[in-house]
Symmetry: D2
Subunit: 407 residues, 4 copies
């Protein structure tokens, strides 16, 4: 057992931290100016492209992707880098081409894509030239039970015909989001986990309508493509757009989720670190009743709790990454659920306290805390509400004792 | 001891509930359509004016104001009506001319205004013809310690000259917000609680600049005038615009806060009732794993907790109202702080669970939950963060034993 | 709506508070000395008898019992008196003959007892001459589902024959506990709520064995008769010992529970008040790092939270009492469950903080906090765990919307 | 970074788990029978001695002690073994001679003892022949501020004279507890951290009176020597009984605390594992309303939360152990405080839920849960209340930013 990062990780951490200091943090103010000045509410500010060019130039690129196509890191090596990018969540992940949902989509194409699919879509994604979306959640059903998904993907000759309505399709408002991976049912009569398939749908396919941007606690997230409601009406794509085989959608989705949770949770820990830093700075710099707010016993209690919770969450996520590397996603199932359940909640708590310590500024657009809070809050819902995952985790725990109990 | 509402309250409750059913709830969809269609992001939708006309016609008007100018209700009689308006928080309070910050401002003018001030500003406010703002919070200091307020109100001959910067001035983005009550220091060298004064500043006074709308978790609250940053640069008003005497600002603010908290908290309870109702409806109507979500033990636990917390909060607020009616704001000090501390937190918890039960819809613009949540969250900060009030309450509790302890 | 106590309540509160000051608090030290000195670990210390004599003499007696047999108070009138007795929970309730489980048993006998049963058992109980027990909980089944109760009460000629094992039968270790009300099944084949009956079993009946005293977190509660495991082996009693009719056990138990919860919860609030008082006194009198512990922001936060929670709980319990008086136990069902769920938990939290503020002394026998904590903790389990009651409350809440949802 | 145990740890874990299965768990029933049957309430049951003999025979002995005197394990190697012993907390730690407070005392003697002190006291302790006590906490002051300690250790010629009162001196009621390490002030006028010294006081020294056993929530902990109040009245011991130098008491105490926290926390995690196991087993084996309690959504939520919290705590404690091994106690200061703050609270929560799931049995002497709960609860107070440690941790966190804030 060893809690030190390996040499490659330390090296990359050093490079990335330097890049954050020299380029990312200074770009934040520019980013907000460009956001305020733009006319199209869905276009990414130019500074993002400049950061991408610089990062790629430095070789800080595609950390998330194991194997030859990406940086070739293990989950355990990538995790601390993801944490660092989480400190500037609207800039850093995109800058190093490690932003969701592209990361998951690239993983899917790497693992399950045909040569043609890789050439057409994976390559420009790896190069950071286009963006992509993942269309799973539907407004009309509880998507936490994947069997509820109602979008149909029907084979007709050499084509598939897609009909359905999706929402909260992250990134899809971005005009540069050129490809959608769509989840739907190819065979509603198959066994529960064999009904779904995934299919590639280019943005300009007739019948695909990006209806509107969905909000998250008032935020449009327009800086990174928002979250679209998307309507599919008799959308036709060639049969070769199907990813892997018919009926494999559930399995592909599972393969996609494990690393995604590691990434989300590590970035969230970076956000928590930044929030804690902001809380310390703010409370040291303001006074009430003649003393810095940081002298308040209650504020100190928050700071201590925040530090402890961050350490716990980081270790749990790192161990999960290590398990995925050593025994695979399946073997790390309990831990993947554990971080899904616990990290967003812990980070949300820290952000709430940092907001409270900032007074009215905390809920405003002048500090990043409220917007980050909203993003983290939705993680308790994304990929199914925490409660569904807790139930599943508990059943696995109970299983150990079921035989002896005869139940 | 008697927990039943009196006859007048029951009568008004009946009338108000009928008005909600027949006019307010049906207007909600119209309201959102008008919001989406408007070109000025700060103009109130026309349907609000229509509701006001209807409400005034029915005599459902100015419930909040005791005495001859208003409906003449006690706090205890008004409280359950405020709760009902909280069920549609963007429409109902405005419809019956009981919306903050006008209510507090009308109270101030009623209690402390000169005849001239009443004629010029109170009358059109009572008639619902204009809106108003209350400018206290400042961006550059921790306003929870009122002594930090830095805006200066300097006497020069027959005028006062005002310099300072305020933010989160609710309602001030509304073009129809015609009058500001501004808090500032007339004498920085006076004893701590005698430094501040309040003064009336008409919107069109030279030197007053409404800089921008502040956000609350991404919401602009543009439907009811937003929350402005306001700059005062050598703003000159006649000396008779001062409210009451020089140095009375702190006392006037205290008088304003008591009823304000009752109103905020009772409306928040109405919001909680609506959230609980929405949670029940949603979880009964959606299925996962073959059963309605409402069958989930965890969801039922939320529902039970929500019901219990609502009952507790309502009783505590009602008792506080009764105390204010019987022993005055001063005698109800502990209870006023108690509801400030506990009601928003309890209601926030209920809203969080209702959001979670709605899945992605919960954080979206398609349901009112996320926006209401954001409003309630800020109550934990408004008028000073909860932590400051807890400290004050604790010190009063400890005081009982200090003499015997010789401390 | 009126939050003031009526004249009779105020008068009795004054008398009771005077009695607490002059007799009960001074008796506490004597009580502990007598407990330490006694040889029989289950005999009540003599000082209890002395207090009873004094209280009866003063007319402070049988407050709990409405009607002619008792003090004739409403639930709302008794509740604040019960709170006061909770401040010295091991002495005051017994002193005024308002201690569980006698109170519930006297209510049962008053409402459902035959003339003969009243004469034989109710009269000496009302006079405080004997004690009694209520035997419902069983070790071998989850008693929270009353249908699980397995003890059989079988009719044989003019007798009933009782077989079964009970535990946590409060008071039964006291040699002066002379009568047991036993719950069991007279007809296992009847509909679920018609299977049980209650029957009177004198302590000295052959076949009844008091096996041992059960502990509560290490406490034997030997000062008030402990909590016995009791074995019934072919115990025979005359048929006239049955309370009310065969099959009425469930209904009688329900009638017994409502007032019982009011009493438990109000006493618990008295315990919380005492704990808060102790927390204030202790933290004012001890110093760390050069200042009284009471100056600590965290401790002040606890004190404020404690005060707020006490006020909330008291109001909820009082309203429940009022509802029981005005619309009956059935109409107060939701509120009775609400206090069962929320009061012990809130009071436990306050006790925990008071313990923490006392350091090692808090968990010791030198302060009453730890022992009171243990008693309050068990209220979360007694009469069925909170979780069962929450589920029931939630289902009633959901019922309002079921028809419209078609579920 | 590597989350797997090393080979030696795995080997010892295997041996220890086998010993638990073959000897410790089977001894638990015997232990409770012997406890019930003994006449001296402070004598350890004979089965403990038998287990010790067997463990020593197997080489499962003195795991806690690094270096030649003990098993020579690192903290990281010992931690998972301590966890295993925590599963049977009243038997296993003592069986392998790793029970507090002997462990800390042996560490002190190993690190700071003179040759004579080692020979006389360390050797029999290492051999498990005698027990020892550590006398620091005092009833009359808040010991969380070490400067409050009032016991005086005054030099007189070749002797030291000790006067003072201690309480909660764990193990001291055991007649076989032959040596006390006493903390007191040798120089009240020295700088704050140089006033205290530690000194060895044999049990039979005149003037030393073991006054009584202090309780912990009703438990005497008489199976392992209880927690004594001890009075020192002009107790004289030779000057060579002083440990290390005058004024070193604070430094020695700090050196003692780090490993002690690791041990306490890892054992607590073992207790949590056992509680979770018991919760699963119990809820699978009991039914309410026709289904196993384990099917309840709320119980499943507890089980999932328990699993997640255990994983988090274990990782945090293991990392702390690793830090102590690699950068020393000083470098691990934040983490040592972090586990002190978070582990007992998390484990207490799990025990509370396990108790709740057991119904009345949970608070009884028939299951180990309530007694374990009481022990874990006191960890929130032992070595200073959590709140003091949180404050200290927060100040270290704030220190990073103080210079820039100019505070």
């Amino acid at each position: 057992m060893d809690f030190a990062f390996d040499a490659r990780t330390e090296d990359l951490r050093g490079q990335l931290l330097e890049f954050m200091d020299s380029h990312v943090y200074p770009a934040e103010a520019v980013f907000h100016e460009q956001l305020a000045a733009r006319t199209d509410p869905w276009s990414p500010p130019p500074v993002v492209g400049e950061l991408k060019a610089e990062a790629r130039n430095r070789g800080l690129w595609n950390f998330f992707l194991p194997g030859d196509h990406g940086a070739g890191l293990t989950n355990l090596q990538y995790a601390p880098l993801a944490e660092i990018t989480g400190r500037s969540p609207h800039l850093a992940p995109a800058a190093v081409n490690c932003a969701a949902p592209d990361t998951g989509n690239m993983e899917v194409l790497t693992m399950f894509g045909s040569e043609q699919q890789k050439k057409q879509w994976l390559e420009p994604l790896l190069a950071g030239e286009i963006r992509s979306a993942f269309a799973m959640t539907e407004p009309d059903v509880a998507s936490s039970d994947a069997r509820n998904i109602a979008t149909s993907i029907r084979r007709e000759g050499d084509e598939y015909v897609i009909n359905g309505r999706k929402w909260y399709i992250t990134g899809a408002m971005n005009p540069n989001c050129q490809i959608f991976i769509v989840m739907g049912k190819t065979d509603p009569d198959a066994p529960a986990h064999k009904q779904q398939s995934m299919i590639l749908v280019p943005r300009d396919t007739p019948g695909l309508t990006v209806v509107r941007g969905m909000q998250v606690f008032g935020y449009t997230d327009g800086d990174h493509g928002g979250h679209a409601e998307v309507l599919f009406e008799d959308v036709r794509v060639p049969a070769e757009n199907l990813i892997a085989d018919e009926g494999s959608g559930f399995a592909v989705a599972q393969a996609r989720l494990g690393p995604g949770r590691i990434h989300h949770c590590m970035r969230a820990i970076g956000m928590a670190e930044r929030a804690l830093e902001a809380m310390c700075r703010r409370t040291l710099s303001r006074e009430t009743f003649g003393r810095p707010i940081a002298d308040s016993g209650v504020v100190q209690d928050w700071i201590a709790e925040a530090r402890v919770r961050i350490e716990q969450q980081r270790l749990l996520v790192l161990k999960t990454a290590w398990l995925m590397d050593t025994v695979g996603n399946q073997g790390a199932h309990t831990e993947i659920q554990a971080i899904k359940i616990s990290t967003p909640l812990a980070v949300e708590w820290i952000l709430d306290k940092a907001i409270q310590a900032h007074g009215a500024g905390g809920v405003s657009q002048d500090f990043p805390l409220a917007e980050i809070w909203a993003g983290v809050r939705t993680l308790r819902l994304a990929d199914g509400p925490d409660e569904v995952h807790k139930r599943s985790l508990a059943r696995r725990e109970l299983k150990k004792y079921r035989t002896e109990a005869g139940k």
